[in-house]
């Protein structure tokens, strides 16, 4: 005991480890173990005589399966771009506060509290074949046939947009309103108009936060499942990779193959994150210098 006392550094380390232990255990039990176990299962195919990688081989030899990667990308990428742009536009406009700011923020953020299922039901009711929007437009004589906005990729994009926009908006609003307002004032005094201020001063400072927001929204969108089933076309145009994994697990009862698909999905997300982080580092190598010390 006395020896530990005398060495304050080792005592500190011990305390640090003890304090960290709960969260460390949580991460191990809830994330690392299931993840490794999933990989382990994916390497034990249902068929006894098949090789350990046979699930992965099967996935990449079956167009019906490997096309889900492309389908998911084609849903997630445009949605993410739309969400980030819309959030950037609004958050930038609200950076110095506006009238009824709290009310407007509440309305914008409300979808978070509703849950995906409720949101999807709402989208079906409003944008569906017999939804209010189509009935209104038909009654007004603006269209002759109902618009098909649900049970296809448009519906899923709507749903994903509504789910992910609030997160992105709140993140960017916090980030942008944290930028010193006198930077804008000084740019104006040097002759910059609003657009120049955005392009040459504010955007470079927002970019790091924007890229992080992009990465998070993309990963969330890539894992799309409930809305792809409810407002999409799960057997066709919106058969995302998570649906493929679900079908293997709960329709084919092939846990091993399902795990392999889940691992592939995780790797896709990881690959996207790596690309995004590399872009961020390239774009903002100068920006990050000195930002913290402002």
């Amino acid at each position: 005991m006395a020896r530990i006392r005398s060495d304050s550094r080792s005592e500190l380390d011990l305390v640090a480890i003890l304090c960290l232990a709960p969260s460390l255990l949580y991460v191990l039990a809830m994330f690392v173990y299931p993840f490794l176990y999933g990989i382990y299962i994916s390497l034990q195919p249902k068929k006894r005589d098949a090789g350990i990688f046979s699930n992965y081989v099967a996935f990449f030899n079956d167009a019906y399966q490997y096309n889900t990667i492309k389908t998911t990308f084609m849903l997630a990428l445009p949605t993410t771009v739309a969400v980030v742009l819309a959030a950037l536009f609004l958050a930038y406009g609200m950076r110095r506060g506006i009238w009824f700011e709290r009310t407007i923020t509440t309305i914008l953020v409300l979808p978070i509290s509703l849950g995906v299922v409720f949101l999807s039901e709402g989208i079906l009711g409003f944008y569906g074949h017999n939804g209010w929007l189509n009935q209104l437009l038909l009654a007004a004589g603006l269209i002759e046939n109902p618009l098909e906005l649900t049970h296809n990729s448009i519906g899923v994009t709507f749903s994903l947009f509504m789910q992910n926009f609030p997160f992105c908006f709140l993140m960017l609003l916090g980030y942008i309103s944290g930028i010193d307002p006198s930077l804008e004032s000084s740019a104006r005094m040097l002759g910059a108009g609003p657009w120049t201020i955005f392009r040459r001063v504010m955007f470079p400072l927002i970019a790091p936060g924007l890229i992080i927001a992009f990465a998070l929204v993309f990963v969330m969108s890539f894992a799309v499942f409930p809305s792809a089933v409810m407002v999409g076309q799960p057997a066709g145009s919106t058969r995302t990779i998570s649906i493929a994994a679900y079908q293997q697990a709960f329709e084919q009862y092939d846990m091993s193959y399902a795990s392999a698909i889940a691992v592939i999905m995780g790797l896709c997300q990881l690959a996207a994150l790596v690309v995004i982080v590399l872009v961020r580092r390239r774009m903002t190598i100068a920006t990050t210098m000195g930002v913290g010390k402002r």
Binding site: L183, L190, T287, V291, K293
Partner: protein, 365 residues
């Protein structure tokens, strides 16, 4: 004075001839500036001085165009400019927190305005380098603001504004984030740049020493109302009211009742004693007034003629390095601050002489 090389080819700065204004600013129902009048001539250095919340920064923001006035007009060389947006006024501004662009190098910061004007890159290069030389930052071109000290950052901010040859330079408490020693150094540099480049400058500060050392004229503000305008000497020696006197270091304010006036001197009754002060117009016998005097103007000991002598006990001593300042409890019950090179001992009884010509006679508020 020869124009600096940083201004070569353009002569001295395209300074203004005259800036005139009278502005009012209200936030909600609160009046922060009440018909604030000002007239500034070319090459002048004018300081807005006052405690925080007196409206001095708001006035500067209105001149810059960053804050819209509620009422009133601003005229520059006879032309109305209060409807011109700040980026088109051609004024330079230096902010308290420097407001450098953290993502640009020192060079990029100083070149920012010139590149917006689409100047040829050779000219930009030349002017930025000359200007950085002028503020003694040659060789720092490739550093980022985060890698500079506070004083260096403020010099970049000054260079960034000056490189555009502004018609009017606006300084918004530029030195208040710096430590005391650096503040005095930078103060001298700003004064030198102002003279060397033939600038017209408006400077906002709450520091009276800064205002006195820099200005041609000082404008003292209190809660949006102009209290006094004058040269540093006028403000320092002849404050017009208790507020300005208090701000300029008069620490003793004696409530007196005025008596007879004779030979340029007026009698002032103070706690049963008669003091002599220099008479001023518009004060009448019988009137209640205030006599203000600085602690450093109070003399220890009795004067030869025994006029204006008060007696009291040392109650508190503040050590100031070369001098000491002490609070004296006078026999009549009032208190007086005295500054002296001599050692003052707690509890000691002292005779104090208040020289008649050091008093400033002020109206009671």
């Amino acid at each position: 004075m020869r124009p600096s090389r940083a201004y070569a080819g353009r002569g001295m700065a395209d300074s203004i001839d005259k800036l005139q204004m009278s502005i009012t600013k209200r936030y909600g129902g609160k009046v922060v500036l009440d018909h604030f009048p000002l007239e500034i001539g070319g090459r002048e250095f004018v300081t807005f001085l006052g405690p925080s919340g007196c409206g001095k920064s708001t006035a500067l923001g209105i001149i810059a165009g960053l804050v819209p006035p509620s009422d009133g007009e601003i005229h520059l060389n006879g032309r109305r400019i209060d409807d011109v947006s700040p980026e088109k006024r051609g004024f330079g501004m230096v902010f308290q927190n420097y407001a450098l662009f953290p993502h640009l190098t020192v060079f990029g910061n100083v070149a920012f305005g010139l590149s917006l004007q689409k100047r040829p890159s050779a000219e930009i290069e030349q002017r930025v380098r000359d200007m950085l030389g002028l503020v003694r930052l040659a060789g720092y071109e490739d550093r980022y603001p985060g890698q500079l000290s506070g004083g260096q950052q403020q010099r970049v901010a000054i260079a960034r504004a000056l490189v555009l040859h502004p018609r009017l330079m606006l300084f918004d408490e530029p030195l208040s984030n710096l430590d005391a020693k650096l503040r005095v150094e930078m103060r001298a540099e700003i004064k030198q740049l102002h003279a060397q480049l033939g600038l017209t400058s408006i400077y906002v500060t709450h520091d009276q020493a800064e205002a006195l050392s820099l200005s041609d004229r000082i404008v003292v503000l209190r809660e949006g109302v102009l209290m006094q305008v004058g040269t540093p000497q006028e403000i320092h020696d002849r404050p017009k009211n208790v507020f300005v006197a208090d701000f300029m270091g008069f620490r003793n304010f004696l409530d007196v009742t005025l008596g007879k006036e004779a030979g340029g001197m007026i009698e002032a009754g103070f706690k049963g004693q008669i003091l002599q002060a220099r008479a001023r117009d518009s004060f009448r016998p019988g009137e209640h007034a205030v006599l203000a005097i600085r602690p450093e103007d109070v003399r220890l000991g009795k004067s030869g003629d025994g006029v204006n002598v008060l007696r009291g006990k040392v109650e508190l001593v503040e050590y100031l390095g070369r001098e000491q300042e002490a609070e004296i409890a006078l026999d009549g019950g009032a208190r007086l601050w005295v500054r002296s090179h001599e050692k003052l001992v707690l509890g000691e009884m002292l005779d104090l002489t208040l020289p008649a010509d050091k008093f400033v006679l002020l109206r009671r508020e």
